[in-house]
Amino acid sequence: MTQPSYRIERATRSSTIGLAVLGLGLIGLLLLPLTGDRATMRLIVEIAYFLALAQMWNLLAGYAGLLSVGQHAFIGFGGYMLFALVAHAGFSPIYSLPIAGLLSGLISIPVAILMFRLSGPYFAIGTWVVAEVFKLAFFEVPALGGGSGMSLPLQAVRDIAPSAQGRELIIYISALAIAVASVVAVYALLRSRYGLALTAIRDSERASASVGVDTFRLKLGVFVAVAAFTGMIGALIFLQKLRISPVAAFDVMEWSAAIIFIVVIGGIGRIEGPFVGIAIFFLLRETTSDFGAWYLILLGLLAIAIMLFARQGIWGLIADRYRINVFPVERQVHLDDHRQRQASSTSLTPTSEKH
């Protein structure tokens, strides 16, 4: 075997088209501030951070198999860290975003060490309990406003930008940047050798270990990285809201339930899933939220229907039927003629040529 007699293909035609469409959409979004449509910008900010949160949860649950229902622990923690850094350490709000993320990553290490002793449903419930503990803990911190919470100091608000319009532009750009970064990071990770290992863990954790994958370290790494990113998104969310309280920061319905809904509806274990889930979630919200509780009932029914009849999610249905793949992480092998011939006469397949 002197020349490599094979070729490994990763892009597909649908991925080239899909990525081009997404790129154009992103350019459109970057031009949106020129129209000065601030209501739409606020909606896009919300969509952007939910997309980033959903990408992170998808990596955690869909690949590393860590079904956490307590990611709002890190959203709230990140938010609170931003307020603490700005109000008590005099940091600029924008620089505080990555630091809040870093601190969320740090706090997730002891959480992981505790939670990784649990598996399956116990892990899920455990993470929820952790989020509740975080909430109760922040009730007890008077410096951060205790149970009634706190507002971002006026001086810090002016630090972001002097005008409200300038602030909204900065938040808008930051939210887009975080959403793009989350997609790029997950895509790059899944295409690397660690993506192979994560997918292997998803399919059989025991066999992954037997082929040399350090499953504990990889899962820990993903948990901490996802917590850091989630914390940074949380910091941005509450920077936009300018106000934080334990009840709002650690709200399971507002955050974890919505994220899980988005990923499950769209298609868990696929990067495209959260995009589709986001579209459906916001479409439903914008069209039916006037009907009050009916909106939530509709969401619930849709989630149940998908889980019963289309466990791959809506993107799973589309992708499998039309064979499209916008973010291909798989490797397609093309063998040349020589290998093809070899394939039909190998030592484990007895043929007449063998003695």
Binding site: T199, A207, D214, T215, F216, R339, T346, L348
Partner: protein, 242 residues
């Protein structure tokens, strides 16, 4: 003197009152091939799980190249050179056959990506899976899943290969083909422990045969002599008319 590749020292394992290993001693040298036979439920697969670290023994010590590996977790033992196949295949179901093997080559085999890709295809060729490179592993027939177990174990570049009943269900022609593959693997310097009910496949490939029964080795030695031993004849008559 170089220490043996694998050494079990007085290894004990019990599940509740069921004793699987009752002070087992075993030494395997570099380049040696060992066959293990024994009745169903004798604990043959459990012995593999103890060697790979999937299970911990209740007592005793397990050494690879003279170093105790009891504190090592399964992935570390894989990187220390232990490659294994599971009796009940554990494929990465949604990954392609190629990616299954590639994962083993990049992690267990510690190969760089380009090298791992070439090695994976080479091994898929040897194990007769080249026609299925892009097939999701979960869609393979049981027979091909067993081949994939072998391919994946080989891709970790083992010094010691543990095979658990990979010949079961094969036709006679396929068994012959497997025997020649295993001989090639052994010639490349890989040591082997093979649990198998198809005794003639073992006789054709290993230097030594042990019989596991009641938590200990009933016989240990030249395969043909072991098969002639009266105790072995008695235990094996009903199971495998040789």
């Amino acid at each position: 003197m170089t220490p043996p590749l694998l050494e079990l020292r007085h290894v004990c394992k019990a599940f509740g009152k069921v004793v699987i290993a009752d002070g087992i001693n075993l030494t395997l040298n570099e380049n040696e091939g060992l066959g293990i036979i024994g009745p169903n439920g004798a604990g043959k697969s459990t012995l593999f799980n103890l060697i790979t670290g999937d299970l911990s023994p209740n007592g005793g010590d397990i050494l690879i190249s003279g170093k105790s590996v009891l504190s090592q977790r399964p992935h570390q033992r894989c990187r220390s050179g232990v490659g294994r196949s599971y009796q009940i295949p554990h494929p990465f179901g949604k990954m392609s056959v190629f990616e299954n093997v590639l994962t083993a080559a990049t992690f267990g085999g510690a190969a760089a990506m380009g090298e791992a890709e070439a090695m994976s295809l080479e091994i898929l060729g040897v194990t007769g899976l080249l026609n299925d490179v892009n097939t999701p592993a979960g869609k393979l027939t049981l027979l091909k899943r067993k081949r994939l177990e072998l391919a994946r174990a080989l891709s970790t570049r083992p010094r010691l290969l543990l095979l658990d009943e990979i010949a079961g269900g094969l036709t006679e022609a396929e068994v012959q083909a497997l025997i020649s593959t295993i001989r090639d693997i052994r010639r490349s310097g890989v040591s082997l422990i093979w649990i198998e009910h198809i005794v003639h496949a073992l006789l054709a490939t290993v230097d030594r045969l042990v019989v596991l029964n009641g938590g200990m080795f009933l016989a240990d030695g030249d395969p043909h002599e072991v098969m002639r031993a009266p105790d072995v004849q008695r235990i094996y008559m009903g199971v495998e008319p040789a």
